[in-house]
Amino acid sequence: MTFEEKSGKTIFRYMSPLRATEGCLNCHEGRRGFTVGGVGGGISIRIPADALVQQRSVNLWALLSSLAFVLVLFLGSIIYLYRHLIRNVLEHEQSLVEQEKLRRQTQKQSALGSLAGGMAHEFNNLLLPIMSLTEMTLRGMPDESRERRRLEKVFEASSRAKVLVDHVMMYSRQTETERKNQDLRSVVAKAMAMAHPTMPATIKITENLADDTMMVFIDFEKIETLMINLLSNAVISIGDKVGEIAIGLSMVSVEAHETMNVNALKPGRYGVISVEDTGCGMNEETLLRAFDPFFTTSEVGEGTGMGLATVAGIVTEHGGAVGVSSFVGKGTRVDVYLPLVETSD
């Protein structure tokens, strides 16, 4: 059997033998194959088979269409998975890098904190008799004497040293705390009311405090110190130029772990104090060291380098985190996240 194309039509061909009988030999004797029982000829059958060809064609188109569809689906899946995978890998790598950076930063802060805290404690013990004895001696001295002026300078320098020691101790979290539940909005408002009169006239202060009640478990004095340090940094960053400092207070919900410049945020609700200035900003290198104690870009004598380090210490003590974004020549924004106390209402 076979298939044959003829005049555009498909023919199925089939051949069966005809065995010669004695009767056949009357006419065909001597011809090839014509012996009794031999195959001298056959019946050749032709059956139109266009239906088969059409069916084949339909099947082929169905197959090709289906294959094309599946291929598109397959390639689409691969592209989707590839992009998804790449994104996940990149995000994971980024997350690991940030976690490693944070881990190093935390280790460094911890080591520095222990060192600085120990020294500050000892220094504080030394300062205490110096200041108290100087103050006692001053009480019995005439007002206009040269010795009194000298001792007043000693007392003034000691006081400045005490402030510095306090900052270091705050950074290393060696100070006593008196924490209680307070509304963050009123805390920020009070801190702003105290800081506002000391701001240079060339700097415009804008406030955008959310009306929500945000209960936080904090030490008011430390949060006040934190605010003063942030504002002080912003003022130094703007310098003598005309600038603007925007103070913000908002509430955010964090859904997943998020690495910040200081600490990482756990899922939960936070009150966020934002201080944004239009100052000189920081480059990446400076930003990396911004929270190191005694690191400063100010001239000698202009800054202690304990501003942001103290902020980091206070925020860590309160279970929060700090995020900083800065652009050279454009300004800096510092966001302080403080965990909200979940109230029953």
């Binding site: 059997m1 076979t2 044959e4 199925f12 061909r13 089939y14 051949m15 069966s16 033998p17 005809l18 009988t21 009767g23 056949c24 009357n26 006419c27 065909h28 011809r31 090839r32 194959g33 014509f34 195959v39 001298g40 000829g41 056959g42 019946i43 050749s44 059958i45 032709r46 059956i47 139109p48 088979a49 239906a51 088969l52 069916q55 084949r56 099947n59 082929l60 169905a62 197959l63 289906s66 294959l67 599946v70 291929l71 689906l73 397959f74 899946s77 691969i78 998975l81």
Partner: protein
């Protein structure tokens, strides 16, 4: 990715299998049809041979074939009305039926042999190969 690949392979296998099975079924159907036709031809030939041929009346006006005496028997008969009946053997019948099928659009057949009496029955390439 593995699932997509698996779906692709399964789909391709199903369609290839479906196509192969359809082709096979149609081929089997055509073969079966051809065998049936062959069987019918062979039955008719056997019946004719059993009766050592049949006599068929020549239609009026049809040219008479060669009338001869074979093995002491005439291969024709004439009835009382003068109508002529010619003896036809299985080969004649096969050839006559073959000519009829060739005029229709459906299945057709023809006898063929290595060295046919009639040159028209010479085998083509396929038939030659089959023989």
């Amino acid at each position: 990715m593995v699932i997509s690949l698996l779906i692709t392979l399964i789909s391709v296998s199903i369609f290839l299998g479906f196509t192969y099975r359809t082709d096979l079924m149609l081929e089997q159907q055509l073969t079966s049809e051809a065998r049936n036709l062959y069987q019918q031809i062979m039955l008719v030939r056997k019946w004719v041979k059993t009766h050592e041929g049949v006599y068929v009346r020549l239609p009026a006006g049809m040219e008479k074939p060669t009338l001869r005496v074979e093995l002491g028997r005439k291969n024709w008969l004439v009835d009382e009305d003068g109508a002529v009946y010619v003896q036809r053997n299985s080969s004649h019948l096969t050839k006559a039926l073959s000519k009829l099928t060739l005029t229709t659009a459906g299945s057709a057949f023809r006898p063929t042999s290595f060295e046919p009496l009639n040159p028209e029955d010479a085998p083509d390439a396929f038939e030659q190969h089959a023989l």
